[in-house]
């Protein structure tokens, strides 16, 4: 026969503190990722290479690999060759940092393992109270 768990009653102030605290966590993590990216930017990592590419030599629709239909559409959008070159040369960099990849994978998998284990412990307690009484 399992003992029924009786939770403490939470005061109004406690309820308020808990709600606010959770929101502090959320905004904290939003701020953190911004902060982190700013540091990277400050150290010159993750710099934009688009400008360098656009600056090299004279650009023509041909050198940008645009055919006459593409050129017509760009012009219809109000883009001249120079403005279009900025967008066209703005490429993503998909080089993978293996260490970061492994760390990220471990964090995600570890998180789910922790969730399922801790949940299971709590779940068994719920089932004991629900079904064994």
């Amino acid at each position: 026969m399992a003992q029924r768990y009786e939770p403490p009653k939470q005061s109004g102030v406690g309820q308020l503190v808990d709600s606010v605290l959770l929101m502090v966590f959320v905004f904290g993590s939003l701020m953190f990722s911004l902060f982190y990216e700013n540091i990277l930017g400050f150290l010159g990592m993750g710099a934009d290479e688009a400008d360098a590419a656009a600056a090299a030599g004279e650009v023509t629709w041909d050198s940008l690999g645009q055919n006459e239909v593409m050129q017509a559409q760009w012009e219809k959008l109000g883009y001249g060759v120079d403005e279009a070159a900025v967008l066209i040369n703005d490429r993503f960099d998909y080089t993978i940092d293996p260490v970061a990849l492994v760390v990220t994978a471990i964090v995600i998998i570890g998180y789910f393992v922790f969730l399922f284990r801790a949940s299971d412990k709590e779940y068994r307690e719920v089932l004991r109270e629900k079904f064994d009484n």
């Binding site: 939770p7 990722s33 998180y111 949940s119 709590e122």
Partner: protein, 463 residues
């Protein structure tokens, strides 16, 4: 059940059961359709036009799995928290707390982004009519405040309005599709000359998966209505599946029109691609139509998000995962009114942080974590309660294939998020880990153990 029932009042106020399949469709498609008007096109930037189309269909497969799995579980666990209530019954409290947070944060952040879209569009129009630098803030707040008010006043009117504006936004896309004469290539649509090879190869296609989610992100929100739907076991699968079909059609024609009108480098970074595409056709009628469609889709999305986020927050309060104060139901309107009010300033704050990129990444990743949960949850659900042990309103075919495909596709999408937003990803995981530790060691002590398990099911097998 001794104490709880003895002290509880004889009369209860529950959420109102008034919705039908049409409302379920409106809730699901309403949240998502804005993704067809904008956002999906960043996947074109990530992997080229064809890369985006491949992502569109692969992610479409992911979401079809989501819709099938959700329909089965929700037709059995019909409660306001949707996936939150599923997690509570099938995996356990800590998982449920996390799922509840995924839902609240994904939807509230999406709501903020939607409201910003409305404000920015008005600012653009004001600029075109000779009033540059219109401050979008009052319109962002007005959008959130008026939709919250609508939600506060009752779910039936809220989702009826959502049905009308979502239908208008969807019809706008279909009208434009026929206007561009897809049966007559080269007349308006110039695919032959505009489409290129994959600019980044296949890694670009994988990177495109992240924004490919925009085509469908939020369709799983239909489950949140479970407690307010008449005969949930039938209406939710019907509304979700028809919603998914609507979105697959909308996503494909959206890609087809945009890729046939705009060079991919432009499309890949455009703010309002469908409005731009309408501009390229040179038809003022289409431009007005697509402008209305964009505004309506953003409003419908914010509206559905308020509905869903408040339901999750409310159900977590009801189980004391969050303060019990949030579990109140309005005696006249029968809505979770305190949860609705509490989330208004939160949404406004998300909108005004100036961190839109982070907010959107947070929203997408929360959704993705939720899908990962759904896949694992489905396998556990079938194992703990085999088909003949409890009544299911709907049984999805080919188990465990959908759950496994979902898990694999989630893995690929995590990788895509890592490629694009590695630092944000870790910061967001950090948040969920801290929140979990906080819940496990602090918050859970206020939760009544057995009371959370409300379904009349037998004891799960293996326990």
């Amino acid at each position: 059940m001794s104490e709880q029932t003895a002290t509880a009042p004889a009369e209860r106020i529950n959420l109102l059961k008034v919705l039908g399949p049409v409302h379920v469709w409106a809730l699901g498609v309403g949240i998502v359709l804005v993704g067809e008007y904008m956002g999906w096109n960043f996947s074109v930037g990530k992997g080229g036009a064809y890369g985006s189309l491949i992502a569109c269909w692969f992610i479409g497969l992911l979401y079809t799995c989501v819709a099938m799995i959700d329909s089965e579980v929700t037709s059995t666990v019909a409660a306001a928290g949707g996936q939150y209530a599923q997690a509570k019954h099938i995996v356990g409290p800590l998982m449920a707390f996390n799922v509840g947070l995924y839902l609240v944060l994904a939807y509230t952040m999406l709501e903020a982004a939607d409201a910003l879209v409305v404000g920015d569009l008005l600012a653009i129009v004001a600029g075109q009519f000779g009033h540059p630098d219109l401050d979008p803030k009052p319109f962002v707040v007005l959008t959130i405040a008026s939709l919250a008010w609508l939600n506060y006043r009752g779910v039936f009117m809220t989702l009826t309005v959502n049905f009308i504006i979502t239908a208008v936004a969807f019809i706008a896309l279909v009208v434009m599709f026929f206007w561009t004469q897809p049966w007559n290539p080269g007349a308006v649509l110039l695919h032959e000359k505009l489409l290129t090879d994959l600019p980044y190869g296949w890694i670009g296609v994988i990177a495109a998966l992240q924004f490919g989610m925009w085509y469908y992100l939020g369709i799983e929100g239909t489950c949140q209505a479970a407690e307010e739907v008449r005969s949930a076991g039938r209406s939710i699968p019907l509304g979700t599946m028809s919603g998914m079909i609507t979105l697959l059609i909308a996503a494909t024609i959206t890609w087809y029109m945009a890729a046939g009108l705009l060079p991919w480098e432009y499309l890949g970074q455009a703010g309002v691609p469908m409005y731009d595409a309408a501009q390229m056709t040179g038809s003022p009628t289409l431009m007005v139509l697509l402008f209305i469609g964009t505004i309506f889709s953003a409003i419908a999305s914010a509206n559905g998000c308020i509905n869903d986020a408040s339901r999750s927050w409310f159900s977590m309060g009801r189980d004391r995962y969050l303060p019990i104060w949030f579990a109140a139901v309005h005696p006249r309107y029968r809505t979770p009114y305190r949860a609705i009010i509490f989330l208004i300033p939160v949404a406004v704050a998300f909108g005004f942080t100036g961190l839109l990129d982070q907010v959107i990444t947070f929203s997408i990743l929360s959704g993705l974590l939720g899908y990962t949960f759904m896949s694992l949850n489905m396998m556990k659900f079938r194992k703990s309660w085999p088909l003949d042990s409890i009544k299911r309103g709907y049984v999805h075919p080919f188990h465990p294939l959908p759950a496994l495909s979902l898990l694999i596709l989630c893995g690929a999408t995590y990788f895509a998020t890592f490629l694009g937003y590695g630092a944000s990803l870790l910061a967001i995981m950090g948040f969920y880990i801290i929140a979990s530790v906080w819940f496990h060691f602090h918050r859970y002590k206020y939760v009544r153990r057995a009371d959370q398990f409300t379904m009349p099911w037998p004891k799960p097998q293996g326990y």
